[in-house]
Amino acid sequence: MRDGKPLFVRSSRTGQLLTGLLLTSAVLLALDSATQRLRPVRGFIDNLVAPLFVIAESPYMAAAVVGETVANRTALLERIGQLEQSNLALSHQAQQFLALQAENNHLRRLLGSDARMASAVLIAEVVGVTPNPAVHQLVIDKGTEDGVAVGQAVVDAAGLIGQIVDVTSFSARVLLITDASHAVPVEVVRNNLRSIAGGTGRLDRLLLEGLPITTDIRRGDRIVTSGLGGRFPRGYPVGTVESVDPDASRIVAVANVTPSALLDRTRHLLVILSVAEPEPP
């Protein structure tokens, strides 16, 4: 009998504790979903769990180091040769690009527009992937200490990756353009047709929705960022149109776009620190 009573007291206290925790969770959920007030709290917890991402990534980092260490001389020489060739080709393109940029800025001045600013970029490495496969986010190894801020665009060598949505002192989260909650203003290179590329939750697919059925868009068209809204710089490749399908009403069409960036393969990314001036309307 002596032990009987405390058992009931403990049980009731646990019930009260659970009720308190559920109520707190409901408040947190409401605040986090509807406002930005919990950003500091999330940043604090992100800082606490950031080492777990690094530990989880360490086998891949170690494998990369070991792979470089044990690579044989012939393979390394071959790789250097490839990189030299690629460097030469890119230098050639860069020379042309500089001349074109100067000419473009000159013409823009003649038209009375401001010259475009060159974008400053920061190289970052992917240190983690969000464990929820339905949420397309990456964790990178650069944070506020390196000048990263929420809203900055992220690209890789092939095209647009996404944008920074959360940042701590030494890490940041990148929301990929394919996430179901993401959308990016784009235009078709061939005819400057403007649209919005929405994420689908699939890493290999973006959608341009609500296009009038008569819109001049076809398979193979290249899609780039339009710079509208000022969040993404203009002209970064987003993807290529794979197919254009009319919807059931036959009034609007939906274009399926394959992203240019290697969203699930790339390890090194570029964070664009200063956004180029958006095109005046």
Partner: protein
């Protein structure tokens, strides 16, 4: 062993479960394999809630859930509430659940993870994503399959550190 010993072990295993939850597969493997990841943290929470010495209560589960929310980019409080509720429910029926056979416990793990996945999908608004319908079942199935392993490893640790 003192209750603190049990608590330390519970927290260390929870950290290991969080680590398993965040570890990624090699980049050249198919994306859909990510859906096969068991609910490691929830299974660990259930194991410790079932233990006689109760080294982990709803509050501990809630804290672990907050960490999981931050890692999984979920709304803060979502997994915290789910884990706390799971810990409380399992602890309420712990004596009966400990008497269940391994197969019955696997079914329980399946149901718990499925319910949590369903709540996550509803709160997170994920039904809009095309392939998530049947894929929602996958973590529940793999969790049921992983339960014997979790139980074996954690029971081994309990015996090693003399935790009831």
């Amino acid at each position: 062993m003192s209750p603190w010993g049990g608590r330390w072990l519970a927290w260390i295993t929870l950290l290991a479960a969080l680590l398993l939850s965040v570890g990624r597969l090699p980049m050249d493997w198919p994306d859909w394999l990510a859906w096969l990841r068991p609910g490691w943290v929830l299974l660990a929470v259930c194991f410790w809630a079932m233990a006689n010495s109760r080294p982990l209560g709803p509050f501990g589960a809630w804290i672990a859930g907050l960490g999981f929310d931050a890692m999984a980019a979920a709304p803060l409080g979502l997994n915290a509430a789910l884990f706390a509720f799971a810990a409380y429910s399992v602890a309420q029926f712990s004596q009966r659940l400990r008497m269940y056979t391994l197969a019955q416990q696997c079914v329980l793990a399946f149901v718990l993870v499925l319910v949590c996945e369903a709540v996550r999908h509803v709160v997170h608004g994920l039904p809009a994503i095309e392939p998530s319908g049947l894929l929602m079942l996958m973590p529940a199935l793999t969790s049921a399959a992983a339960w014997p392993l979790i139980r074996f490893v954690l029971q081994g640790l309990c015996r090693r550190f003399r935790i009831e």
